[in-house]
């Protein structure tokens, strides 16, 4: 569990990695009712202008939460997560989720820590970018 006194601007969160696999995506589909054909069928995805079947956006968002929670441990709370999807995360590629502390602001009811978020695949293609704010009790 990260401690507030150990956090500095510029700190990088431990990376979280996930393979782009149907084993993972099907599990997420089963809990989020996420069965659009472009996540499973390359031909459907290609007809929509994508190189092939790609991961669900809510799963990419959930992996941002997992990255933050892995770092936070059981403490703190996640106040905001904002992501913009830049490129599809394609099947059989490897996703890396990163976070970097950009600001620390002490307030009366806790300390706000702002982070930049980035997800890239193993071909260095930027999949998603964004920001997050977490709150740690002082």
């Amino acid at each position: 569990m990260v401690q507030l006194e150990d956090i500095s601007v510029g700190d990088e969160l431990p990376e979280l990695q996930r393979p782009g696999s149907v084993r993972h995506w099907s599990r997420f589909a089963a809990v989020n009712y996420e069965f659009a054909d472009h996540h499973w069928d390359d031909e459907v995805a290609q007809a929509e202008g994508f190189p092939g079947a790609f991961a669900m956006a809510p799963l990419l968002q959930s992996l941002v939460y997992a990255t933050l929670r892995s770092w936070l441990g059981e403490g703190g709370s996640i106040q905001e997560v904002n992501i913009r999807l830049r490129s599809p995360f394609l099947k059989d590629r490897q996703l890396t989720c990163r976070g970097k502390v950009t600001a620390i602001e002490k307030q009366d009811d806790g300390t706000l820590v702002t982070l930049d978020i980035e997800q890239t695949d193993d071909q260095d293609i930027q999949v998603a970018t964004g920001t997050a704010i977490v709150v740690l009790q002082t």
């Binding site: 809990v31 659009a36 905001e80 997560v81």
Partner: protein
């Protein structure tokens, strides 16, 4: 021409009918009571192939954790598969999808529908087993531009979740592209 830039007129596909529903409640969804097993399934799926944090699946352990009991992670979806409201009366479409037709308005024709942006704010109040969650949905913005795939309609769908005590849990603006 404006300065050195060229202003290109885009023929809008957003009708007056579509504009008239911006900000109006499009859908109200009420969950079945959240269960510990719903939460376990969610975290096991998201964290696969890693073991998810223990506070999300071990009730005894969670009682000693800062939350004091088993809680759902902030991204948990309480509405997947079936809800009592609207009642399940046939095959369901993905609940992340939407259509203006839900308010009696003709949607634009499109061949693809993808999510491009997700912006979520949280209150810090967690969803817990036994909670009944209400979700209110509305279209809050239309935006159009020409893109790689032709004319693209960006639509912001805002979802607000509250619990049975009317505590605000979270709000999400999801930006969908139709083309």
């Amino acid at each position: 021409m404006e300065g050195n830039s060229v202003v290109v007129e885009i023929a809008s596909i957003v009708t007056d009918e579509m504009r008239s529903i911006v900000g109006k409640e499009m859908r109200r969804v009420v969950s079945y009571p959240v269960t510990a097993q719903d939460i376990r399934r969610w975290v096991i799926a998201v964290w696969y192939p890693e073991t998810p944090p223990r506070q999300y699946w071990d009730e005894e352990y969670a009682r000693q954790a800062p939350a004091g009991s088993l809680v759902a992670p902030e991204d948990f979806n309480p509405f997947a598969w079936a809800t009592p409201e609207p009642a399940l009366d046939g095959p369901q479409v993905s609940q992340t999808a939407f259509s203006e037709a839900e308010l009696g308005v003709s949607p634009p024709a499109y061949s693809a529908f993808i999510l491009s942006e997700i912006n979520t704010s949280h209150s810090g109040i967690a969803m817990r087993p036994g909670d009944v969650i209400t979700g209110l949905y509305s279209i809050t913005k239309y935006f159009e531009r020409e893109g790689r795939m032709g004319h693209m309609l960006y639509t912001t769908l805002t979802q607000t979740l509250t619990n049975q005590n009317e505590d605000w849990i979270r709000s999400t603006d999801s930006v969908f592209i139709r083309y």
